[in-house]
Symmetry: C2
Subunit: 348 residues, 2 copies
Amino acid sequence: MIIREKEPENLEFPFSTLDGYLVPNERFYVRSHFATPTIDARTYKLRIEGAVERPLEIGYDELRSLGREKATALLECAGNSRVFLTPKVKGVAWELGAVGTAEWTGVPLAAVLKRAKLKDSAVDIVLEGADSGEIKDEPKAPRILPFARSLPRAKALGHEILLAYQMNGTELPTAHGYPVRAVVPGWYAVASVKWLTRIIALEKPFSGFHQTIDYSYWTQDHGLPTLVPVTEIQVKSEIARPEFHEVVPANTVYRVHGAAWTGESEISRVEVSTNGGASWQPARLADKSRRHAWRLWEYSWRTPANRTRVTLMSRATDKTGRTQPLMHDRQRGAYMVNMVLPIDVDVR
Amino acid sequence: MIIREKEPENLEFPFSTLDGYLVPNERFYVRSHFATPTIDARTYKLRIEGAVERPLEIGYDELRSLGREKATALLECAGNSRVFLTPKVKGVAWELGAVGTAEWTGVPLAAVLKRAKLKDSAVDIVLEGADSGEIKDEPKAPRILPFARSLPRAKALGHEILLAYQMNGTELPTAHGYPVRAVVPGWYAVASVKWLTRIIALEKPFSGFHQTIDYSYWTQDHGLPTLVPVTEIQVKSEIARPEFHEVVPANTVYRVHGAAWTGESEISRVEVSTNGGASWQPARLADKSRRHAWRLWEYSWRTPANRTRVTLMSRATDKTGRTQPLMHDRQRGAYMVNMVLPIDVDVR
């Protein structure tokens, strides 16, 4: 793992080591906002409150007894690949590896909301973690606050969102939210709240620190500059090998490979350029298209005969026709970095 | 007028000169966020758009022909009295005079929304001014944006909100929003958008810069730290005379006087302390209680016989029982400063 920040713990999956469809738990990237809380499953309680007819407190064993759904889903940090932005932006300097696909097992959030009898007046469902801490950069923010993020009612009631207690077939690791985390497929991982201890149904949209100030970006609504939370994952592909500044043998066939993903759609095409974007060739998609997970791809590259520097690129397109842009949309600030990422390599 | 900022123009009414119920236009405080726009009433258009069945463009004469309602209403800047806060906070350093009562003449906003056939799906009504400019302090914000602020549907449909074209019986002065401004009685004046040129009905709450980042504060909702826009004016009184560090004759009767106001209620009581808050005596309320305007008050103070320093205080209570606090609520940051304001004077 690449250490991006020691405390709180922010660890990156070295993307060049990608060698399978699922990323093993011990190599899955870790994004933490505050110190990792230690929770005892024997005393753990998930509280469901706010605009519900029947507020609940559910223990760990009871929660597990409510369902055992499986979902293969990709999580990507909204700031993944931020290190490629120039000029440099604030935030953890992720390269390519704040992303991964895992198999999650848990109870649908919808089942828990149904059990608590969600009121018709509830419009936003807040997920709160047991992690909390100080906000130093924002003088206006409360000194100490918990990590919390919301889902609009319709999204929260989709059957695909899990309260996961297993990751790749074993108990959720501490760094990944033990004993229970949310998994919100198709959305940037900020929504997939770890160490989940409270669900609050609100009658108006939530406007918390990590909802409205952090993990938000500017867009236009009727020509009005408007701040919106980061939500759906954008179409993207990344090259695992060769890696940045790798030395590649001349005059051979090199297996360029990587992964591609999107939000509420499926990947339909990945193309590779070996000349800095002047022309593009189709890559071979290695596995079946699967919503909310990534698709591995490869491309057999006949390397040049002579010593040279080559800029490799990959570009993904999804079934809705969305394609990776060549430039980052500046309005998105330090988030949703899905532009084509050039990888320079040296042919020897 | 006290110049607090030259460009953009921020001018304070010297509150010690309070000498009548209405503050004359040329002495009414001016709060501007950007350079003052120059608008020609002959070419002026107010656009009403977004979630309306019938988008409209209304010229100045047409707008005036739609109604002629009068409202006596107080405007107070949400940052008024901020200079009394210690430690010092960011923002224009207003003392006591970013407040005033005027008589406004205009068309009810509700009438215009009805004419445009507001859709049932509209939940938030954005008022946009012709003033726009650069946001320098917030790196995340768009470089240039217009001043815009919203009202929830129910508030916007209240008959009391005017699109005002007159102030104290004459045409609206340029600094006060010529040719048309909103007047939202009972709410901090940030809602009373000047140089109003566009009304946009939105189907979700507006999250613009001056709505969500600026003029907002932290509160708790189900124990969740939540950012909310500044809205209702808080109960408050201010002493006009004597002013801070005024020299007052010993052993005489001095007329302490000032004004008191509140948001969605009426002032029921003002008390004065001449011993730094140790005891309080009732002040005489000088005029009839009137919702959304201030109430002038006075108190005949028998000054001490000897040279001394005295701390005067006034404290207002409204009909809902809300009273001015002694301390500022830190959660409100640099806004809604309604604590009791001590005025030190020297008796000679």
